[in-house]
Symmetry: D2
Subunit: 284 residues, 4 copies
Amino acid sequence: MIPCLTRAGIGNPGNLESFVALAGRHGFGGVDAGGDELLRLMEARGGAEGARAYLAEHGVRIGSIGLPVEWRKDEDSFRAGLARLAAHAEAAAALGCTRCCTYILPSTDEEPARYAARTARRLRTCARILAPYGLRLGLEFVGPHHLRRRWAHVFFYDLPGTLELIGDIGEPNVGLLLDSYHWYTTGGTVADLEGLRPEQIVHVHINDAKPVPVEEALDNDRLFPGEGVIDLAGFLGALQRIGYDGFVSLEVLSQSPPPAPPEEMAARAREAYRRVWPSGWPRA
Amino acid sequence: MIPCLTRAGIGNPGNLESFVALAGRHGFGGVDAGGDELLRLMEARGGAEGARAYLAEHGVRIGSIGLPVEWRKDEDSFRAGLARLAAHAEAAAALGCTRCCTYILPSTDEEPARYAARTARRLRTCARILAPYGLRLGLEFVGPHHLRRRWAHVFFYDLPGTLELIGDIGEPNVGLLLDSYHWYTTGGTVADLEGLRPEQIVHVHINDAKPVPVEEALDNDRLFPGEGVIDLAGFLGALQRIGYDGFVSLEVLSQSPPPAPPEEMAARAREAYRRVWPSGWPRA
Amino acid sequence: MIPCLTRAGIGNPGNLESFVALAGRHGFGGVDAGGDELLRLMEARGGAEGARAYLAEHGVRIGSIGLPVEWRKDEDSFRAGLARLAAHAEAAAALGCTRCCTYILPSTDEEPARYAARTARRLRTCARILAPYGLRLGLEFVGPHHLRRRWAHVFFYDLPGTLELIGDIGEPNVGLLLDSYHWYTTGGTVADLEGLRPEQIVHVHINDAKPVPVEEALDNDRLFPGEGVIDLAGFLGALQRIGYDGFVSLEVLSQSPPPAPPEEMAARAREAYRRVWPSGWPRA
Amino acid sequence: MIPCLTRAGIGNPGNLESFVALAGRHGFGGVDAGGDELLRLMEARGGAEGARAYLAEHGVRIGSIGLPVEWRKDEDSFRAGLARLAAHAEAAAALGCTRCCTYILPSTDEEPARYAARTARRLRTCARILAPYGLRLGLEFVGPHHLRRRWAHVFFYDLPGTLELIGDIGEPNVGLLLDSYHWYTTGGTVADLEGLRPEQIVHVHINDAKPVPVEEALDNDRLFPGEGVIDLAGFLGALQRIGYDGFVSLEVLSQSPPPAPPEEMAARAREAYRRVWPSGWPRA
């Protein structure tokens, strides 16, 4: 498993080059970024080769890119993103990135069966565009109770439901983005994780939860790993045992900006990973 | 379009041979039957050739067979029907039948998004088993309001939702079973039908509705075509205009048995078809 | 069926606006164009609405666009075209065009089984990118004998083989581009065409063949319809009987430029269509 | 990795119960069998539970079943096997078996492109029938040179081509059956194996080759592992390094019956495995 950073939790370290350098200074092996950032990095570094050299120099890989397609709304908006998806996938492939992720809001005002069918069809199309580039699509379920009640009907919100959605999509390159917060807020167990095959997991987020009743845990009120009540040792241990060897990204959503500059937050992130990582920080 | 009979509305005329003979006597070009009945007919007639000869002799084809798979419940029940599906499909293909149909209840006690994903996956599997036999799978939405409220959550119940489901399934051999009662109870219009391509329609049911508010129309309280308030001339006219040339089956669900023996009910069915058929009864 | 022009046979009438105007002047209802031309037309006309107005003013539609993807070579070349494919598909959809076509060379120096598998996979990917835009992919087999022998191994070259390829691809939006020259050079019959369902045909080319032994008919030595030995009345009559109502494009490949300017060649094309069209020129 | 027996090489130990007992006595953890044998075992043991108990008692699992579908010939023959495939898959699932395998002859008298497309379509159908039962389909390429030349055109015969076929089929549950003899006769390397992900491998066969020029190695003239020239330590070591943890079946095809009774051949098989197994025999 490879420690990885997102911008959520450490603040804004500037452009992708700065972000990569920061991650590298603190021993992280990956960063999550947007496809547009990858295109800009290649442009700034004189092409894919220069960008790869920059990443290699800092010992940092691109963990995943976000899905640049509006699959939740009308058909025209959806279609308008597909050319960009292909362009981002091409950039990701050129830089050795093999993962693209999106999240699924756990309730909806639309008729849920119909919305589910549309969601499956559109995400299948996205997966099929990613496939020739060797990219996998990771789907993140979102567990906090307040979001499940936010719109009229409950939608996909937990592991079993998301596996059902993935089964419906039916493409070999679609899997889970597992986030410890959502695992926790949906009552997930270590056994649930141990029941997965490693190739079902595309990407992982970690973070922690405040000591409030789980039904009251807010999506944007998370803690750094080890500061809260989630059994992260259990979470990461299970992933390691089943053979997951991908990225594990810090994603700490919060209502206010990080309390310190990115450099210090990255250092804190490193300490947080050391506390919860199964067998010590993987890079000395 | 080919007039066709089901047993719903005319009562039980006995085994498939009797049913076929009855349909032939009254000028119907098809009957809907079960796959088991097809197997028995072939056995009784010394094989597929004998069965085909019997059908030809009576001028009657097999319009469609029912889907012999329990796709609504647990996975074991689902899987237990797949071998039978292949056997029925083989029998259907041997007798020139190219349609297999199932209906979708319009509400559910399960989480609807998850149930939708499971439904799409399972019906896709069924369609894929039917495909090598040249059979298409027709999906019938069920519109009556009381059934939409019968279980906790609304599910697929109308034309747009069912088209979304078919789009999710994504197989070339899946389409609609259009039933005039469900078209009527979901506020369907002639323009809705005219917006379809003929190959999107696998099978058609006709029947009529009592002159009660549409919200009160019960699923099992239907009338013979022409005896009620549904615009069947509009319904059938639109199907003819777009080029639908498949079967149109009488399906009159009712709370009590038919008021007369099958022979007389088939004669009444013939009169009913004459009243609503776009350009006169198609066979003199 | 809608008479349609390509640039092959009438010469170069200039940009798409000129081409559309020319087609309109001579009563053709469509032109085949490249996706880049559609993008330029929209730019020149201030957007999709302006471009649609221009087409409507001339009574001309876009029959089909070419597939802008290099699917025959290495994987990088293939992937490099997919973003452009999505962009072209979006432009086509905006202008009401629903067809995208490519041709398949009938022999190859690669191992044919492996090349067939790669071809099916890549064309499937293209079809899946086209699908959300409502576009269909038409595959044209290429029949002339000299091209079947040009490379070491025979590949897909006729109707049955191309239907097998389409069956392998397995997507609902893939069908045939039928070209009368290839139908003729592969010994196609009227009965072969009558065995097709109209939705299996995405696009049609017509042209004629010199009175040489069919084995010697060269791909780039074609005649205008009615000037040669192909049974075009049989060809077009069969298409009309089965219900094909799409475009029929003139494609006359030749070794030298057309003998007259585009305006005159379009007039000759009109006369050629009048000679072979099933029931007279469709537009007075 | 789990040592497993087929009947090829040890002779006929009788019915499945005897075969399982024999495998268990000699420390093998699996046997490959036919689906019909599984059905008979369940019948003989009073159902699935009894059959599972018998297997558990002997410490033996069902490694894989053969694909009971004639996918190489006409369409009727193909379709005739699909109901049996579902029945065998159901039996396999009931007994904990998750693999079904078939082999691909490396040359053909049919047009290879067209035959490739048909092969992909039919194997996809098989995979889709296996999927709901949790079974994977393993495809074995066949490398000996004499078989590549036996029919007019070369077909799929090596690892890269078979991966292309699997990519065309496009189903998540299709992978390789890797046979050391075919790896050897196609010039496979340890690096080729190390380039695979473990989930791409469904099943493995081992055996050895006589010290003749590789072009002369006959398909049915194999040796026990360790008696010939194949680098089986390299083969098995690579599989172990990439994380393959499935069955490794002895398959020694030969022109004459085994030189000793099954009991002795199984003992010899055990010795053969001990010679080549990466880290000693896995069960004491």
